[in-house]
Assembly symmetry: C2
Homo-oligomer: 236 residues x 2
DNA sequence: GGCGCCCTCGCTATTTTTGGGGACTTGTTT
DNA sequence: AAACAAGTCCCCAAAAATAGCGAGGGCGCC
């Protein structure tokens, strides 16, 4: 085993830009002794960022054709907590088979393990180890490397967040009653029901909602609930 | 260092029930050589599960008083991806200070690191290492143990999911248009604006919203947006 | 003692959303 | 070939949310 865990993490630690992150991903790939590594984040604003070692033509095609909607790896990882071996995914649909064929043809390995990564506000990213080999070899490899893949996924994502230009948006603070109000609305209560539950008049409740809306700079109640949820201000 | 990582994971691996998980948490605590470990999951249905080593009276008080709403650790972890050292949290509000005082009095250590854990469908859990010692000692400890805490958090959560009787709540799938519709609403657009943006009639948009509401079992649009956001089906 | 924030309540009018119908086309799956 | 899901459009009436005006008491901070 070429790379000790600490060495691997040490590759990520000093990274200071997204470019450097891409280079570090390539070095990780070498140390882990596999064909490809992919870090692919879908950030909150809908933009994407990826640092990966796949051949450029495949990346271009993937993006152009909007394959993230079809990709069984993405879909599978969205639904699970634990890392996913590609073999356990559902490749039966026609779209998935076509996709797989094209990926193989483009130089992507037949074996893979993808680690789903989730952050606050619906952040979602994937960290994938990809290789071309037979099933047994891959089973041995992924068995012994799972822990470090999980950790690398964590640190790579953290670094990506860190070096991303985005300033941490200053989050407004809601008063207890405002929190209560938005929480109940987020749980599907109507204003009347929520007021009832909080044992206040509907009008008072309205005041809270409006205050919360103002504080959050939201355009309407639904938006306010979305913002509050997004910012971890309320819990369903 | 008493516990090698593999030994620690080996404690979790054979666990087959929630009770055993609680016992394993206590063994982990011993091997990690700290005062307390807390695994605390808030599942999507609002229920809670915890496996922890805090004194019972404190647990009871925490639950009775609904402290998860006040607890700065919970609030802080909800908003961040990376593990949180308790010292970096905001303890300035009066509620937070009172809470801290009571926790200390009840036998909780003054130092802590909490690892947020997120899964699909808005799963959220915390894995906390807690200890009573001075700042320097803790800084050394948490520095060297961070990686294993992250991994333990991962494996403990995975095990908790695995042994939990509850069937994994099947999350409805939204069609692309339904996703678009809810996304725009979550961003504060009115139906008219959203329809405009998607270049469809408002009536059509309404059909999507209603379909999404039905699929998600939501009581109204705000609820549907909250559910979708919570379940990671849409991203603001 | 004043300033600001939080909690509480009332009224009216307008705009928006929701819920109930139905109908057509284009795909994919079986 | 039939079934199904998805996308698109329409009308109408009832319910809910929004916007505007107002008022008073309590608490903490400088």
């Amino acid at each position: 085993m070429k790379g000790r865990l600490d060495d691997l993490i040490e590759i990520i630690r000093p990274v200071a830009s997204l470019d450097e992150l891409s280079q570090s991903i390539a070095r990780l790939r070498d140390l882990l002794d596999i064909d490809h590594i992919v870090y692919h984040a879908v950030n909150a604003s809908g933009g994407q960022f990826a640092a990966l070692t796949y051949p450029d033509p495949w990346v271009t095609e993937y993006l152009d054709r909007g394959y993230q909607r079809t990709d069984p790896v993405v879909r599978g990882c969205m639904q699970t907590f634990h890392p996913v071996d590609w073999k356990t995914l559902d490749w039966s649909s026609r779209g998935a088979r076509d996709f797989l064929g094209e990926a193989m043809a483009a130089g992507v390995g037949n074996q893979g393990v993808s680690v789903p990564i989730r952050g606050p506000g619906g952040q979602f990213a994937l960290f994938t180890a990809n290789h071309r080999c037979d099933d047994d070899t891959w089973a041995r490899y992924s068995g012994t490397h799972l822990s470090r893949l999980i950790l690398l996924a964590h640190f790579v994502h953290q670094k990506a967040l860190e070096v991303q230009a985005g300033a941490p948006p200053p989050l407004a603070r809601l008063s207890p009653r405002e929190t209560d109000a938005l929480t109940l609305l987020a749980r599907g209560k109507s204003r009347a029901q929520a007021a009832d539950e909080l044992v206040i008049s509907e009008h008072t409740l309205r005041v809270y909602i409006e205050a919360a809306r103002d504080k959050l700079g939201a355009l309407n109640t639904t938006h306010a609930v979305a913002c509050a949820l997004h910012g971890g201000l309320i819990v369903i």
